[in-house]
């Protein structure tokens, strides 16, 4: 297990370096922040621009700038935003919990819905319940999340005045963004649960369990579910990465004060330190989650540990 962990850690570090290096390189192709900052000033000279660049540390070699950003992961000092000079760490400190709270709520919504629905569909295979669940989940899958978000705002905020259209302010404000993301996750997860359940239900030990006279719920939720947990957990690990990526759109629609909003604004204003740090933190988290998934395998299925 130690050797396996070490290897996976090295791989993870490599992935983070490659991702951040690519991002740091790419954002520098996208335009000059000094010009953005100076665009409102009348009669700005080349010397003024040079001074602004120097103030932002843009005159230093690319590698120096990159290493400074990377070191932020360890020192929690990501430099300052080009827009106004707020320390990036301060921005991330409020944005990250907001994003995580939303992501976990969405995951929870999805798990709470997809496991019973998926099992139901598998057990009632080919019956009307199965058909309905499959069709509904296909519809859920086909919604673009920004459309779903807009429709919910129209219905629940503007027409019914039940939920706040944007912002993170109390439990009610979680409902629409978490549902928007949760619905799409659920649609995929239901199908996943159904498929792996169908496989497991044909296995001999299920027949044995039933033959022993165990209650149907015990058979399904204890014996069968445990065995289809591996593909589920793997997929949810991957899904979490996608979730953090997809959150950008949803956060923007709901004006959620998270990492997505931060990244979006940073792109618009060529705010390198903010953009790089946000991507670095998010990619580190995605890599870490995948690592955790690998470890979780070992815990759930002893066969993997000994391999």
């Amino acid at each position: 297990m130690a050797g396996f962990l070490f290897k996976r850690l090295l791989q993870s570090a490599f992935v983070i370096v490659v991702v951040t290096l690519l991002v740091a390189f790419a954002v520098r192709l996208s335009g000059d922040p000094a010009l953005m900052i100076a665009s409102g000033a009348t009669n700005i000279t080349e010397a003024d621009l040079a001074r602004i660049r120097e103030g932002l540390g843009l005159n230093q070699p690319f590698l120096t700038q990159y290493l400074q950003t990377l070191s932020g992961l360890f020192t929690w000092d990501f430099g300052r935003s080009f827009m106004g000079g707020t320390p990036v760490a301060t921005l991330i400190k409020t944005a990250l919990p907001a994003t995580l709270a939303l992501a976990f709520t969405a995951m929870a919504v999805s798990i709470a819905l997809s496991i019973p629905l998926g099992i139901r569909a598998a057990v009632r295979r080919g019956k009307w319940e199965d058909q309905t669940i499959r069709v509904v989940s296909l519809i859920g899958l086909s919604f673009p999340n920004f459309w779903l978000a807009t429709m919910m705002v129209l219905l629940f905020s503007i027409t019914l005045h039940l939920l706040p259209p944007s912002g993170m302010n109390g439990p009610l404000s979680f409902v629409m963004p978490a549902l928007t993301m949760g619905v799409i996750l659920t649609a995929t997860n239901v199908r996943l649960v159904r498929t792996s359940m169908l496989e497991v239900l044909n296995a001999q030990y299920i027949t044995v369990a039933r033959a022993k006279g165990l209650s149907e719920n015990k058979v399904l939720y204890k014996h069968a579910l445990r065995n289809c947990a591996i593909p589920l957990i793997t997929y949810m690990g991957v899904q979490f990465g996608g979730l953090l990526g997809g959150i950008v759109v949803v956060e923007r629609v709901f004006n959620w004060p998270g990492m997505g909003t931060l990244a979006f604004d940073a792109v618009a204003s060529r705010d390198y330190p903010v953009l790089q740090s946000v991507i670095m933190v998010l990619s580190t988290m995605i890599v870490a989650v995948n690592l955790l998934v690998d470890i979780a395998y070992g815990l759930i299925d002893p066969r993997i540990r000994t391999e």
Partner: protein, 505 residues
């Protein structure tokens, strides 16, 4: 027991209903961007000003009517040569922290702006004409300039020239000042949450009288649809420019509680020509292309009437605007004749470069292209990423025959536009070299004789129009969406909203 619970529930409900009543006098505004810093010298953003105009004041003030009036200075006297300005300061004014406003504060503000601290920010370049500020007595200061600058008094009404309190600044330091600013304005800042919002409360000791609102709550909402949803849901009272897309105006107007209020803004739009190469190097061709396009129809059909057509690259609020300068009329037959005269064959093609993210202008460009097709010119539209277009394609002279330029300046002075667009060697003028135009541009710059300067600016506009240097399109309105419970609101063309006379019902 049940009775008690019922009573409690009723009481809670009553309190719930009472809450909005207590919050009377609170205005909630959706602002598209957090400037990230409230120090006047660290920012250039219009969205800074739309908040900070309520916190800070300058020596002069220019409100929504664009007229320059006394601010923290009650009077000023410009010396004959234009190089010294003596300001008489308003007495009895206090900063939000109780510190007195006086000549020392003025000197401190400009020493900081022109010194080391200001050198790191974008605002200093606007005020480089100021050589030094001399304190004459507690309420008199002299500004010594290294050249006469007719636009300086206007500049003193905004941004970097806002007067800050020396003691407070010395006590808290630069960084704390960025997040907790103190000025002399009608409102004080009570809280600031980066990227979320900022809250202000009334300054009861304001020299101009206590404001009518007790609180202003600004929320940073980037996405236009979200801002409009908040407005429709009644959580936001006012959405400030440039958020409201033209396409959403009918939706807002259909709601009885909401209104659209607009006024001509600072930004003008034009398609500028490559005057050096290709068919547009010929003045007759440029004129013909202008004649081929019906700008009024574009304004009515695409911009929902929220713009006015222009004859030169400026709007009516700009100093140097000439109401007598006539637009080149829409005349497709005349355009075809001119093109024939210039030897341009039907089917000739031009490329129009636009900013890819400007959806409205992309529609405008398509309409222009259709009009050009009407006189036998094939126009292709080439969208670029905004930064690429602005920082590479235009300055390097790599554009097509025509390219989008939208331009606005908070000083509303045509010099800012004309000099950048027409003077040889300027970043925004990659193609044209015209010594005569250069001379006119240079001549007006230092003039303190306003009438003479206005005359010269008007002749520059006429000259540029005669040479058909660009296809002037329109001056876009600054569009505000507002809840009808807000009273006394006057839209500011430049988003600098001072809200002390506004109230809510």
């Amino acid at each position: 027991m049940r009775k008690t619970l019922t009573a409690l529930a009723l009481a809670l409900t009553a309190m719930g209903f009472a809450a909005p009543a207590m919050a009377e006098g609170k205005l909630t505004i959706s602002s598209p961007q957090d400037p990230g810093n409230w120090d006047p010298i660290d920012t250039f953003l219009v969205n800074w000003s739309s908040v900070a105009t309520n916190l800070f004041e300058g020596l002069t003030y220019r409100g929504p009517d664009m007229v320059l009036v006394p601010g923290l200075a009650t009077a000023w006297d410009v010396a004959e040569d234009g190089k010294t300005i003596r300001f008489t300061l308003r007495e009895g004014v206090k900063f939000h922290n109780g510190e007195p406003f006086n000549a020392a504060a003025v000197k401190f503000t400009f020493d900081r702006l022109l010194g080391e601290v200001g050198a790191a920010g974008p605002q200093r370049s606007n005020y480089m004409v100021i050589d030094s500020v001399e304190v004459i007595d507690d309420y008199t200061v002299d500004f010594h300039l290294n050249a006469a600058d007719p636009v300086l008094l206007t500049k003193l009404a905004g941004y970097g020239a806002m007067i800050i309190p020396p003691q407070y600044y010395a006590e808290v330091g630069d960084e704390a000042f960025n997040n907790a600013p103190v000025g002399t304005g009608p409102f004080k800042m009570t809280s600031y949450e980066p990227r979320i919002g900022v809250k202000l409360e009334a300054n009861p000791d304001y020299w101009g009288g206590a404001p009518r609102l007790s609180e202003i709550d600004y929320r940073f909402i980037t996405e236009p649809a979200t801002a409009v949803a908040e407005l429709q849901a009644g959580n936001v009272d006012l959405v400030i420019p440039p958020t409201i897309p033209i396409g959403m105006i009918p939706t807002i107007e259909a709601n009885n509680n909401l209104s659209i209020v607009s006024t001509p803004g600072p930004t003008v739009y034009a398609l500028r020509f490559n005057t050096r190469d290709g068919i547009t190097a010929d003045e007759r061709v440029r004129r013909a292309l202008i004649m081929a396009v019906d700008r009024q129809t574009i304004v009515d059909a695409i911009l929902g009437g929220q713009a006015t057509t222009i004859a030169s690259f400026q709007g009516p609020a700009s100093f140097g605007f000439d109401g007598d300068l006539a637009e080149i009329p829409f005349d497709p037959a005349g355009a075809q004749a001119l093109l024939a005269e210039a030897g341009v064959q039907p089917g000739a093609s031009v490329q129009i470069d636009v900013r890819g993210n400007d959806a409205t202008f992309n529609e405008v460009a398509q309409a222009v292209s259709a009009y050009l097709a009407g006189v036998g010119i094939n126009a292709t539209i080439q969208p670029y990423e905004t930064n690429v277009l602005l920082n590479d394609i235009i300055p390097q002279g790599k554009t097509g025959a025509m390219f989008q330029q939208s331009w606005g300046g908070w000083t509303f002075d045509y010099d800012n536009t004309a000099y950048s667009m027409y003077h040889s060697g300027e970043k925004w003028n990659p193609y044209d070299v015209d010594p005569e135009l250069d001379a006119m541009l240079e001549e007006q710059r230092p003039l303190t004789d306003t009438l003479r300067r206005e005359e010269l600016l008007q002749s520059i506009a006429r000259y540029a129009a005669d040479r058909a240097l660009e296809m002037p399109l329109y001056n876009l309105n600054a569009i505000y969406a507002i809840n009808n419970r807000v009273k006394g609101f006057v839209p500011a063309p430049d988003s600098r909203l001072k809200l002390n006379e506004v109230w809510v019902e």
